[in-house]
């Protein structure tokens, strides 16, 4: 399809490849690799640089970094996806109601959202995590809640824009009820920018999880995530920098892929559909 042409550019292709690869790894690695691959300790080979036996090196407990990073993908991705889904589940109805109905509801909700936006997202996530007690679930909740205000604001902006379009007025003149309006007119037209924004938020969520785990307020052992791996490597930076670089590169590549994918997705979804064809 002509529409998918932007994906054929270098940026698009790399983006799709990276995202695809990470998704595949996240889904399949736990199924294909033995459970013990990431936790098997070999104290004789601890902190060894990349060799044939351990292509990406080992950490301070002699665990193979390659397996750990591949298996850690699932945790990191799962947390990020769950958090973003949570933000959307809360933010979408909020944003649509605010943008479509306007008035006092909009004023009050947006004032609340704007105030929440004064709290740096990472700080909010850290605080919630600390307050609830850090574990996998609470990390998801913390990141999800921290990202909701931003997403809600974007959704509200889009809903407002669409609500003022002539085709919405035309539908109202044609006797369309509010419910049908939201379902058939508002929602389909805000989804493309929301999807693009979600992709970008996914990237931020992975960075957030890494940051939280790095500070010890995210995923906890025995769950393995990339952020946790970086945290564990802090004391060994001199002797074994690869213990930090391997998980760091994993985060970077995933986030890079998502950013590229999101950029290209924006090109694909927006101008064509808005009728400038």
């Amino acid at each position: 399809m002509k529409v998918l042409r932007p994906f054929l550019t270098p940026k698009g292709a790399i983006g799709v490849l990276l995202v695809g690869a990470v998704l595949v790894i996240a889904l399949l690695a736990p199924l294909l690799l033995p459970d013990t691959a990431a936790t098997q300790m070999d104290m004789r080979a601890r902190l060894s640089p990349p060799t044939l036996a351990h292509p990406l090196g080992t950490d301070q407990l002699g665990r193979d970094l390659m397996y750990r990073v591949l298996l850690g993908a699932q945790t990191s991705i799962f947390i990020a996806v769950s958090a973003v889904v949570m933000s959307i589940v809360i933010g979408l109805p909020l944003g649509i109601v605010s943008g479509y109905y306007g008035g006092w509801t909009d004023n009050v909700l947006m004032r609340l959202v704007d105030t929440l936006l004064s709290f740096p997202a990472l700080l909010l996530a850290l605080t919630i995590s600390a307050v609830l007690g850090p574990n996998l679930q609470n990390t998801i909740i913390a990141i999800g809640v921290a990202f909701t205000p931003f997403l809600a604001r974007i959704i509200r902006g889009e809903a407002l824009r669409v609500a003022q379009m002539p085709y919405v007025e035309a539908a109202r003149a044609a006797g369309t009820t509010d419910g049908k309006m939201i379902l058939r007119h508002i929602l389909p037209n805000i989804m493309p920018p929301v999807i693009v924004q979600s992709t970008i938020s996914l990237a931020f969520a992975i960075l957030a999880e890494a940051g939280l785990s790095f500070l010890g307020l995210g995923t906890q052992p025995p769950n393995a995530s990339w952020g946790l791996m970086i945290q564990a490597s802090r004391d060994y930076l001199d002797r074994a920098p690869w213990t930090a670089l391997v998980p760091g590169a994993a985060v970077a590549l995933t986030v890079l892929g998502l950013n590229m994918f999101g950029d290209v997705l924006r090109d694909v979804l927006d101008p064509r559909m808005r009728g400038r064809g």
């Binding site: 035309a170 003149a173 044609a174 006797g175 369309t176 389909p188 037209n189 559909m273 064809g277």
Partner: protein, 612 residues
């Protein structure tokens, strides 16, 4: 104009311009050749996609900044030293010397032509300082002079102001002053009045004409409006799809066009005054089409009122302050009353901000009126509950101005046309699909379009879909809000004919809202002229057009360009009053509209007075 052929000022020879497309180069201009003599006005006319703008941008070598490439032909321009330079091969330095100095250019959008963060003085003087090496003080003095030349009141004050503080018409005058600053020998005007109201357009056209006569400069005038061509041109160049179709002196082109396209273009243009003496609206002349429906558009012997509007007033709040309280009101519609009969077309005509659009929306209650009454087929619309209002909407539909934005980009066309039917439960299943298909037939769209999306259609086709949607529930009243204003002239003619056919077949009443007097003259039975929210004059089309009584109506008539080069009405002594602001403080109660009857059914506003 001149009998002995002087050396041309500009000679465009075999110009070919291409743009980078997704699948290969797109040819925007193909083998175009014409010349401009010193002091002559050449109008390049064509519809969208004709390549007329690209041609002018090529002359200034600005087309490269938009991704275009001049791949063939020559652009010869006579320099001050007498030699002809080929601008297509000129280097950057030469071009910068020519731009704003030997050739000036003005564009279409006065709202965005000026840098929002610089003062008027700064923008006017930087050209002068560059080309004429004037010092700050001298440049400022010259800028003042220029502002006076273009008749801007209070020029000293304007220099200190920012663009957003000036109206559209004034901004365009500033842009013209900027272009004239260095006394160019050629002025290129790319659709300079398209975005302006008709009275302002008349003033700007008169201004350009006067400057041309005073300085002896040549004008290359790009437009899609044949009436403007008739008023301004010495010679005409007609373009279509990148090719030159025809060129010649303006009189010959209008009286005896030699090409089919030119003939079709001229036929589709409504001319102010040609309906004189005719009883009923008349279909547009489309070359090759059958004009047989004129009979059935005649007004009924005993008119039966369908829509009765009494003392309609709509005011919009202006909010300010932290708590967003209402600090003032926009008096969009003020004490408007009229009657629209079944099977007839009433036009509401006026310039931007006169309230005609708000009036249409108020009648449909898409915005809530502040007071008054609206009765459609006996039902008081303003008294209905939201639920009953929704059901009543079945009988009154609307067609909007922007064919791009009035269709949902993500919904199939068939579904959008079906929406009114399903909303009111009028048909379902195969019945529904049949009805939608028949509607598509009626608006002359192929059935293959049923499953398509809006972005796959052209502007005119989209507007047909919008009309099909408006027809779907069999309404008695359709409000057409500038429904043809965004369409090319030939497409416009087809859509207008479609509307008139539907009226003849189904007896639909149209409330036709427009700013285009010539179009209104063709399609209406009755006409209401609006100004500052009130109807200043209303009557039959013949009464209002042939015997206008209100000063504003007369001003409007005199400002409309007539598509006949033998009747040039540009006068430089035009002095239209700028339209005052309709924003009033809270609680301000203007008096009621008082009318005098100057003929049967012909009313003229006597109080409040003071318009135009």
């Amino acid at each position: 104009m001149l009998d002995d052929m002087p050396a041309p000022l500009v000679e465009i020879d075999g110009l070919r311009v291409e743009f980078r497309g997704e699948t290969g180069p797109i040819v925007a201009v193909e083998d175009v050749s014409f010349s401009i003599a010193p002091g002559e006005t050449v109008c390049v006319v064509g519809e969208s996609g004709s390549g007329k703008s690209v041609t002018s941008l090529s002359l200034m070598r600005l087309v490269e900044f938009g991704g275009g490439r001049i791949v063939g032909g020559a652009l010869r321009f006579a320099r001050p030293d007498g030699r002809m330079a080929d601008l297509s091969e000129a280097d950057d330095g030469t071009m910068r010397n020519i731009r704003g100095n030997e050739i000036g250019m003005i564009f279409q959008e006065p709202m965005t032509s000026l840098n929002p963060v610089f003062t008027i003085e700064r923008q006017m003087t930087d050209g002068l300082r560059l080309h004429r090496r004037l010092s700050g003080g001298a440049a400022r003095a010259r800028a003042l002079e220029l502002l006076r030349e273009v008749r801007i009141p209070e020029p000293e004050r304007r220099l200190r102001q920012y663009p957003h503080e000036l109206s559209g018409g004034m901004r365009q005058r500033v842009v013209i002053a900027m272009a004239m600053a260095c006394r160019p020998r050629l002025l290129i005007a790319d659709e300079p009045t398209t975005a302006l109201d008709v009275t302002i357009q008349a003033e700007i056209l008169a201004l350009i004409d006067r400057l041309k006569r005073e300085t002896g400069m040549a004008v290359l005038f790009i437009t899609h409006d044949m009436a403007v061509v008739a008023q301004m041109a010495d010679r005409v160049v007609v373009m279509y799809r990148g090719k030159l179709v025809e060129e010649g002196p303006v009189g010959r082109i209008f009286a005896a066009p030699s090409q089919d396209y030119t003939r079709a273009l001229l036929a589709a243009v409504p001319r102010l005054g040609e309906m004189r003496g005719k009883a009923a609206p008349e279909p547009m002349r489309i070359v090759g089409a059958d004009p047989g429906m004129a009979r059935s558009l005649e007004p009924a012997a005993r008119p039966e009122p369908l829509l009765e509007v009494r003392n309609l007033t709509t005011r919009f709040p202006v909010k300010g302050g932290v708590l967003r309280r209402t600090v003032a009101q926009v008096h969009a519609v003020e004490d408007v009353s009229f009657i629209l009969n079944r099977g007839e077309t009433l036009a509401l005509v006026g310039e931007s901000g006169c309230g005609k659009s708000s009036c249409g929306r108020s009648i449909l209650r898409l915005v809530e009126p502040s007071s008054g009454s609206v009765t459609v087929g006996g039902t008081d619309i303003l008294a209905l509950s939201p639920h009953d209002l929704r059901l009543a909407r079945r009988h009154m539909q609307m067609v909007f101005q922007d064919p791009f934005a009035s269709l949902n980009p993500y919904m199939r066309l068939a579904d959008q046309v079906a929406e009114p039917i399903t909303n009111f439960g009028l048909a379902r299943g195969t019945d529904l699909t049949d009805r939608v298909a028949m509607l598509f037939d009626r608006v002359e769209l192929p059935r293959s379009f049923l499953r398509r999306f809006p972005h796959e259609l052209s502007g005119g086709q989209r507007q047909r879909v919008a009309i099909a949607r408006a027809l779907a529930a069999n309404p008695k009243l359709i409000v057409a809000d500038e429904a043809v204003s965004a369409l090319d002239v030939s497409v416009q003619a087809q859509v207008l004919n479609l509307m008139m056919e539907l009226q003849a077949d189904f007896g639909i009443s149209f409330l036709f809202i427009s700013h285009d007097m010539a179009v209104v003259e063709r399609v209406s039975h009755r006409v209401g002229v609006m100004y500052l929210g009130r109807i200043v004059e209303i009557g039959s089309r013949a009464q209002v057009f042939e015997n206008p009584q209100h000063s504003y109506t007369r001003a409007l008539m005199s400002a409309v360009p007539v598509a006949d080069p033998a009747r040039r009405t540009i006068r430089d002594d035009l002095n239209f009053r700028p339209i005052p602001s309709p924003v009033f403080p809270l609680g301000h109660e203007p008096g009621p509209s008082v009318y005098a009857e100057v003929g049967p059914g012909h009313l003229v506003l006597t109080e409040p007075g003071g318009a135009a």
